[in-house]
Amino acid sequence: MPAIPIIMPQLGESIAEATIINLLVKPGDLVVTDQDLMEVETNKATMNVASPCPGRVSKVLAKVNESYPVGAVLGYLEASVEDAERLGLSETTATTAPDFGHGAEPQHAPEHEKPRQVVKPTVRGLPVPVNAAGASYMSPRMKARMLELGLHAADLAGLPGSGAAGRVTIKDFEYFIANLEQHKLTQASSMRVAVADAMRRSWTRPLATVALPVCFDPLLAHRKTCQPKPGPALYALRALALALAENSAPAGRLIGSHIVHPSSIDVGFAVEAPEGVLVPVIRQANEKPLKVLVERYDELIRLAHQRKLPGDATGGSIATVTNFGTFGLTWATPIPLPEQTIVLGMGAARRVPSWDDAQGQFVPVMEANVTLSFDHRVLDGGAAGRLLARVAQLLATPTEL
């Protein structure tokens, strides 16, 4: 026997619920079509809920003095299959009667028709860039066109704009692009493009550099005693790792209002490869002594030159060492990788006069500049200087590395 629900009717245009004030039937009662089953009260009037078909009351769910929303099931009738069928009251049709008129969503909506999630705005609307000053302002059309051509703001650095406060208008831009055709154009390698992308991202931060001349005589002397010989950059890498193991905060990253501390002292080093630079990583460089690291270091340089670095030797490092001294350079301000806060640089060692207090005269020493470039949002000059001084101190006693 089909169980036909007794439904709280819509008893007025704005009525959302009604209160049961009297039950006129009880379970087991036989009822006829249109018979009053319950008395209900809305804030507008008192009226009755009627029986949809003949049958026996099987269940009364509604309680007197309780309120129920429109459409709520107040009880069930047992009806004959024939009556249910004839009146279109089979259990399924009765319970899924669509109710589009009261704000309900249609059921069985196709997936793509489902209402979208409503995103609550977190700000009171976006600023409208009327009178936005400077070449930094890019119109939606400029942004879209540059995206289409794979260009970045930096590519337009040399382009004077004719718009408000010198901003580049779409006309300026299209003229510039059209004019490029008149110059010799070569294809940049994918490596070059990738490095450019990393540099652009790095450059979004305020970067500063501190430097310290360091006497390399102990390091060079130690190096002569080793077989195989560690590269000068490896000394710096190991010194930096030990310094960071003592205090890893300077290698932390600033994300919003949080400092994200490094979880492992993994340090990378820059290796020049054809068309660009690769940065192999030595994991937990603070845990292994220099002589153990040499072999891995040399292997990674070889693999980098072949551009065959294994996955576990790329990415995820917290700082980088770069030996610009390789090129005979004595001074540079390297740029930290976009995901790192610091980069340690080493210049070429030169023999320079150094005042020796004990001897009371200048003596020749091998000296190189060691630089630390850093994200000034995370570190101040003092913190950077202390880290660099500690690295220099460690480099002075290479046997301990």
């Binding site: 009717p9 819509q10 008893l11 507008k44 009226m47 279109g88 028709e113």
Partner: protein, 337 residues
């Protein structure tokens, strides 16, 4: 002198009218039941107590005439030829009904058959009837009339004034049937108008008027038909005022607790269906057996139609074309959905 085809055998008509009143009353009761079963999404508005007047309106018209029924005209609609299934489909929102689920309950019509689909704004249908009658005039269609139903409340609107005045100026065959049922929703006559009787308005517009007891079927048939015949014969607009009492709430959400008990027990509070039944019995046109038989027939017809419509699917929002223009080339397609 009325034309020959207007002479009606009153006995035959009153029997037909009574059966239609009975059918309308039982259909309305069914709508009320369906409402209380939660089967009707919007409101339900009954013609209880107004069937005599309404049926007189519907029966006084003939094919080719125009009819703008209002909310209490189940009887008149049936009398003018509305199919039961159209009424039920509209109430239940069936996609197969004349309004296809786009509009519901009493907001139904078939303009091509001369029945305009009312909007909720009272008095607004008068000028629309006038327009239909102007169309008849332009196209040389003579002898037709237009009948607009309304209540006492609608007589207070600007549209009533504009519409009746317009018909009078154009001398259109408009019959304006006002069911003065004592209340506009809950507002009694003394808060609705200050003239002694609404009939007084006829003179102000320069039209003919008639006032009578709307609880009396034979009186209603006689007076409404008379007005229709006068309009048809070129007598210009006719204002018909029928006094009666709404024997139900404004809608089924309203228990009408505000209705004055004295009014209910007065002559105006008589149930026109009972009055008609007594009239037919006295005239020997009705026996208890025939009444039972007519009731059973009406109940069966209603049950069958309701059962059929309840099995019909509701309109499908994904099949709906969601365009309000007949000119599809001008429908804007830019809206994000």
């Amino acid at each position: 002198m009325a034309p020959v085809d207007a002479v009606i055998a009153i006995e035959k008509v009153s029997v037909k009218a009574f059966r239609l009143m009975l059918l309308a009353r039982m259909l309305d009761d069914k709508f009320a039941s369906l409402y209380r079963m939660g089967k009707i999404h919007g409101g339900v508005f009954l013609g209880r107590g107004q069937e005599a007047l309404s049926v007189a309106s519907g029966l006084s018209l003939r094919p080719g005439d125009l009819f703008a029924p209002l909310i209490r005209d189940t009887a008149g609609r049936l009398a003018f030829g509305e199919d039961l299934v159209d009424a039920v489909r509209t109430y239940l929102g069936s996609g197969l009904g004349p309004m296809r689920g786009r509009d519901g309950n009493v907001h139904r019509g078939e303009p091509r058959k001369g029945v305009y689909a009312m909007i909720s704004h009272l008095g607004a249908m008068i000028s629309v009837i006038n327009g239909g009658l102007m169309a008849h005039r332009f196209t040389g269609k003579t002898g037709s009339v237009g009948l607009a139903s309304m209540g006492d409340g609608a007589t207070s609107t600007g549209a009533f004034h504009e519409g009746l005045n317009q018909a009078a100026v154009e001398r259109l065959p408009l019959v304006l049937v006002v069911a003065n049922n004592c209340y506009a929703y809950s507002t009694p006559n003394d808060r609705q108008f200050a003239c002694k009787t609404l009939l007084a308005r006829a003179a102000g517009y320069g039209v003919e008027g008639v006032e009578f007891d709307g609880t009396d079927l034979e009186e209603s048939l006689d007076k409404v038909n008379g007005a229709v015949q006068r309009a048809r014969a070129g007598g210009g607009p006719q204002l018909v005022i029928a006094n009666l009492l709404r024997l139900c709430g404004h809608g089924e959400h309203d228990d009408a607790s505000y209705v004055d008990a004295d009014l209910k027990s007065s002559a105006v509070g008589r149930d026109c269906l009972k009055v008609a039944e007594d009239q037919l019995r006295q005239e020997g046109l009705l026996t208890p057996e025939t009444l039972t038989q007519w009731r059973e027939e009406a109940a069966r017809d209603i049950e069958n139609v309701v059962a059929q419509v309840q099995r019909e699917p509701g309109p499908d929002p994904y099949q709906e074309d969601w365009s309000a223009l007949a000119t599809k080339s001008l429908v804007e397609t830019q809206w994000p959905s």
